[in-house]
Symmetry: C2
Subunit: 110 residues, 2 copies
Amino acid sequence: MRDHRHNIDRVFHALGDPNRRAIVEKLSRGPVSVSNLAKPLAITLAAVVQHLQILEESGLVHTEKTGRVRTCRIEPKGFSVAEQWIGDLRTTWERRLDRLADLLAESEEE
Amino acid sequence: MRDHRHNIDRVFHALGDPNRRAIVEKLSRGPVSVSNLAKPLAITLAAVVQHLQILEESGLVHTEKTGRVRTCRIEPKGFSVAEQWIGDLRTTWERRLDRLADLLAESEEE
């Protein structure tokens, strides 16, 4: 449970940064090497490497080194953590609204 | 389009903070006054007010003052922005994987 909470924290922290979201958007279109990832972003290679580390630790991106090239790809599982958190919230508030609607209907019948 | 991008930025920035996510989780269970919201969180009332301002600007929470009490409630629309952003990513990478599968099948047929 605490691990799950920790996962949620890491995923939303990672997605909270616009450069990291730009990296993730680019990777959704296909795997990219670290150096090619840095080019279109107006940030240094060192900054990209730091962002990638956060994205990798949060389970949103996977990187793999083959020879001298490190390739990055999207990790779909990480995004499910964010979707599930929002989905759970939605379930909670919709159930509450349903109960309110039931109460209203009952009080009208009386 | 730029407005939509701006919305995405605000929503993910807002959700990137654990105290703001705790506020949103509490509000999913029903509307709460600002002072009752501050109590269970180990932060000052001033900090809660600041978090609420960010949540309200990002469209995730709505606050309304009646007399001397300001009540906060969840704003479902804001969460759709985050869900749609992740959904769009998912569509992009799934389409790419489908194309790859088609190419593989074609090359096997040849």
